[in-house]
């Protein structure tokens, strides 16, 4: 046992209802279904049978979203079994079966009620097509939720949450002074809530998390995990002492130890880093960082800033057939309309991260050349990998991880720490605190949302470096609505104070080039170009006299060896950079490091959790089939590689970087390890 945690549970407070002494005459709602309806249904079934569809085919035909319909029907039934409210999805509305199924369920509710010790009744019954869950209020009003039998994504915790919400809505309905108790309910709020339930699950959203995060999905059917990451000292159980060799082993009871129970508090941030036990943390994240929130935030803030990653832009442009230039302009237009003032290009910001990272690399190489141990530098830019490394192999991997922030992290520091100073420094500039700025990042990856909520990515005043991260697909959806003009246009009054207008001018033109459609790419692919930058720097150090050998060791695993060809240096150890993408390759790398049987010869390792890197990140616009996906990924990479390259030295960037150093901001670009090390001390 690790110990015991006491998690304070907020006492579930039941919303009060007025129990009417006498309910009005209850009418069992007689639903009449015409023979025609039944006939139609039979015809449908017949057709399907004739087509000879297998389940699998049907599944493919319906496509993920439809098949995984969250709920099929919601029913509220009074104490005397009068239907108070029924809502069925459009797809099954004329389906007699669902209604029958709800009726059948009622018997089971009665049955369960006698044994129930809480309001939530759990799974009631199922037939070949549907299954139902129940909930009953203290006053005997029954809530029934019907799901498709195939839906296995929703677990008890989710169901409880949905019922709680319905219950709250129901009590709201009751407080309507015009509502007569026991009569059928009419509530727009309730209708909307149901419609939301009927819509496809956010599962297609959580599907966007990288495999690493998803692997310990929150939807595991057994609630607690074996070990919560929260430190419950005294640490791990000692391995059992080896028993004497004997045919019949004996089992001795361990002496009881009287240790005081320590109360441990577990915060959401802890759970985000773990996801080992049942939490709906991912859902919380999605709700917290949505397009809706981003727009609200941009509108409310004094200064709205958006950072757009090249991967996201390339994905949108590929899907819409735009050029990158056009895409950048449209995205800028969109965010401007939503209240943002500045849109930044993340790949220009990335060049800052690359420099920081190379500095670390150089230090390690120097150490090695002085006779120190060989320590590969693992790029920590991928939040999926960073999360996995911390969680699963902290002691092994953390010392090897680069401490440089990802491009999102650097952009966060830039916007929240540097920008206010810049504005303050400019004459008559208004004084802005980090909290006055709302920063949205558009990223190819949902794990970035996780990254944004890490404590080290917080400004001095407690506001986050990046307030809201949007996945590419999320932005694309909002963009569609915007372009079609479906949205009622609330004209946004952009604060045209000249001081703020100067913000744009104060920033290096390369960074704000995005708004003019002037994009700059970096060498390498969309996953950051750490390997290319490393090779370039190494070659430069050798005066360009190098021979590069690139081998594709496995799928998504490239190893690049750079040999010096300078006279006298031919025998020297080459610089070895590697692209290790995908969980499989990560596992094999970790195994090598762990067993120590074979040395991991890499110096610089660009690690990405997604098999094809950020171009096909979890937040990108999804293609339906694997082939299609590969094609799209290639297209996305091509769009990026065709961009004009960033010059190796951009005077304004250098200047900018120097100004960062002047202001002693440099450490801020390298803060990733700070809390990581603290975490290790657990």
């Amino acid at each position: 046992m690790l110990g015991s945690a006491t998690i304070d549970q907020a006492g579930e407070r039941e919303a009060r209802e007025n129990d009417p002494a006498a309910l009005n005459d209850s009418r069992l709602e007689n639903q009449i279904y015409t023979f025609a309806n039944t006939l139609e249904k039979f015809e449908k079934q017949l057709k399907q049978a004739q087509n000879g569809q297998t389940v699998e085919e049907a599944e493919n035909m319906h496509g993920g979203a439809v098949w995984w319909m969250m709920a099929v029907a919601v029913a509220l039934i009074g104490r005397d079994n009068a239907r108070l409210y029924t809502r069925v999805t459009d797809r099954e509305r004329d389906d007699y079966e669902v209604q029958m199924f709800i009726h059948c369920t009622l018997d089971i509710v009665e049955d369960k009620l006698s044994k129930a010790n809480e309001l939530y009744l759990g799974l009631l019954t199922s037939n070949h097509k549907h299954k139902s869950y129940g909930f009953v209020t203290n006053t005997g009003v029954k809530f029934i939720l019907v799901l498709s039998l195939a839906n296995t994504t929703l677990k008890d915790t989710d169901m409880r949450a949905h019922f709680k919400r319905l219950h709250l809505l129901y009590t709201n309905c009751l407080s309507n002074p015009f509502y007569e108790l026991g009569k059928p309910l009419k509530s727009r709020a309730l209708d909307e809530a149901c419609n939301e339930l009927f819509r496809s699950t956010p599962a297609d959203m959580s599907g966007g998390f990288s495999g690493v995060v998803r692997l310990s999905n929150v939807n595991d059917y057994i609630a607690p995990s074996q070990a919560c990451v929260i430190p419950l000292k005294p640490t791990l159980e000692q391995p059992a002492a080896t028993e004497d060799e004997q045919l019949v082993s004996t089992h001795s009871k361990k002496p009881k130890t009287d240790k005081p129970v320590v109360k441990v508090s577990i915060s959401l941030a802890d759970c985000l880093a773990c996801a080992g036990c049942v939490t709906s943390a991912e859902t919380v994240l999605i709700e917290e960082q949505s397009v809706q929130r981003a727009i609200e935030g941009l509108r409310a803030a004094k200064l709205g800033v958006v950072t757009v990653s090249a991967s996201s832009l390339a994905s949108i442009c590929t899907a819409r057939g735009w050029t990158m230039e056009e895409g950048a302009r449209r995205v800028t237009e969109f965010f401007r309309a939503k209240g943002a003032r500045v849109v930044l290009d993340a790949s220009v910001v990335q060049s800052l991260a690359l420099r920081e990272c190379w500095q670390e690399m150089r230090e390690r190489i120097e150490q090695r050349e002085k006779g120190g141990a060989h320590r590969p530098l693992l790029v920590s830019a991928c939040p999926g990998f960073a999360c996995y490394a911390e969680k699963s192999h902290g002691a092994l991997l953390m010392p090897l991880m680069s401490r440089t922030r990802s491009s999102q992290g650097v952009a966060g520091v830039l916007v929240k720490e540097y920008l206010p100073r810049l504005i303050a420094a400019s004459s008559n500039g208004p004084s802005l605190s980090p909290a006055d700025i709302y920063h949205v990042a558009v990223m190819p990856c949902f794990d970035r949302k996780l990254e944004a909520s890490r404590p080290e990515n917080t400004a001095a005043d407690g506001s986050r470096h990046v307030d809201c991260v949007l996945g590419t697909a999320e932005l694309n959806g909002a963009l569609s609505a915007f372009l079609e003009g479906r949205e009622e246009e609330e004209s946004m009054e952009v604060d045209e104070s000249p001081e703020l207008a100067r913000v744009e001018e104060a920033l290096p033109e390369e960074i704000t080039g995005f708004m003019r459609g002037a994009l700059l790419g970096l060498d390498g692919n969309l996953s950051g170009g750490y390997v290319e930058y490393g090779i370039d720097r190494w070659s430069a150090a050798k005066g360009g006299a190098v021979r590069v050998e690139e081998t594709k060791a496995a799928s998504n695993l490239d190893v690049i060896r750079v040999f010096s060809t300078r006279p006298g240096e031919e025998e020297e150890r080459p610089f070895v950079a590697a692209r290790v993408y995908g969980f499989r390759n990560i596992q094999n790398m970790v195994r090598k490091l762990k067993t120590g049987k074979k040395e991991l010869e890499y110096d610089l390792v660009e690690v990405m959790a997604c098999p094809s890197g950020c171009a096909n990140g979890g937040g990108q616009i999804r293609a339906a089939t694997t082939q299609e996906r590969n094609r799209v990924t290639e297209g996305v990479e091509r769009l990026y590689s065709n961009l004009p390259r960033q010059p190796t030295t951009v005077p304004s960037i250098d200047e900018f970087r120097a100004s960062i150093e002047d202001e002693k901001m440099r450490m801020d670009l390298k803060d990733v390890g700070a809390t990581v090390n603290a975490n290790l001390a657990w």
Binding site: V55, E56, E59, A150, T152, T153, G211, R214, L215, S216, N217, N219, D220, Y221, I222, S225, Q226, E237, P239, A240, T242, E243, E245, Q246, L247, V248, S249, T250, H251, G276, S392, S555, F583, R584, Q587, N588, V590, R591, K594, T595, K597, K598
Partner: protein, 325 residues
């Protein structure tokens, strides 16, 4: 109607409360049997023709920190693997003295490992876990294991995996009621076929026949389900052979005489024979043994002696049963 006679009963521990035996595996020679269970020990038994029939030769007890759910031998007999609830798999290699010694620990699963199995060629090794994933490992020239693929096809706990007897085709059974078949596409392992509702409940175990053209699965629904394969394995099973009161069960297909042994939560072991012509198969019960005092967790036919069946049970015993026809 035949009968199953007790040959020997080896009790792991009479008094211990955690001596459940989970799984056993025969060495291809038939001379060695490995067993594992709740006591975190892998035992290697020597199987002899005369009394005592089973003799515990080796106890491997320092590798795992939680119950061991599954053991298996590689087909060349060089390796023994044990999969544990401590989310690791340990590989033991046969030394020159014939004893098995821990040489490798495979880590990566995020939760309890439920099953492990070597492919018929011994080139691949598969593991499955409560974390819903199936991992494929590949043995390199230096006998090291590298991850070949990590799949997470199931929506629930993966309970059991088994290889096709001749081809590199893996079958997995899951808590999500489904079974899946996987093949190697040259680079990755991919799902070859998905049967969504194989059983009305958790699919607990499965076995192929010697030719690999038929397989049986058993599930929580107490159904022994026979599946036949056309040239490419494809669903075409006959639902048959309902039997009772077995929530948990295990199955083994005798490669010589085509008999199926099934053990279950009803503390009994039954032997079935597949009868009838192709396409019209039915499953007939031909023998039964009810001597266990707990759920039967694993049954396994002797690889050479076609009437000898080994069982592992919750009552902490390893039994050898002789089928009399």
């Amino acid at each position: 109607m035949g009968s199953l006679e007790e040959v020997t009963v080896a009790r792991i521990a009479e008094v211990e409360d955690c001596s459940k035996q989970w799984c056993l595996a025969w060495h291809h020679s038939g001379g060695i049997l490995a067993s594992c269970g709740d006591d975190k020990v892998v035992r290697v038994w020597k199987c002899t023709a005369e009394s005592p029939f089973l003799e515990c030769r080796t106890k491997l007890d320092s590798s795992h920190t939680r119950a061991i759910r599954s053991v298996c031998f590689s087909h060349d007999g060089k390796f023994l693997a044990s999969a544990s609830f401590d989310s690791t798999i340990v590989i033991y290699e046969k030394g020159e003295d014939g004893e098995f010694e821990e040489t490798n620990k495979l880590e990566g699963h995020e939760s309890e490992v439920k099953g492990c199995a070597f492919s018929p060629s011994d080139e691949f090794f598969a593991t499955c876990s409560r974390d819903k994933s199936v991992w494929f490992w590949q043995l390199d020239e230096e006998d090291d294991f590298a991850v070949s693929s990590i799949l997470q096809p199931h929506t629930g706990d993966v309970k059991f995996i088994t290889w096709h007897p001749t081809e590199d085709l893996l079958l997995s059974c899951s808590y999500d009621f489904s079974i899946r078949l996987y093949k190697f596409d040259g680079e990755d392992w991919v799902t070859h076929q998905h049967i969504g509702d194989a059983h009305d409940g958790t699919v607990w175990s499965a076995a192929f026949d010697a030719t690999g053209r038929r397989m049986v699965t058993v599930g929580e629904d107490r159904v022994v389900q026979l599946w036949t394969c056309t040239a490419t394995p494809e669903e075409g099973g006959v639902r048959n052979g309902k039997w009772q009161k077995a929530a948990r069960c295990t199955v083994a297909w005798n490669s010589v005489n085509g008999l199926i042994a099934v053990g279950g939560g009803d503390e009994s072991v039954r032997v079935f024979r597949v009868e009838g012509t192709e396409g019209e198969e039915t499953i007939q019960e031909i023998a039964q043994y009810t001597g266990h005092e707990g759920d039967v967790n694993c049954v396994s036919w002797h690889p050479k002696d076609s009437t000898l069946l080994a069982t592992a049970s919750d009552d902490g015993s390893i039994r050898l049963l002789r089928l009399q026809l």
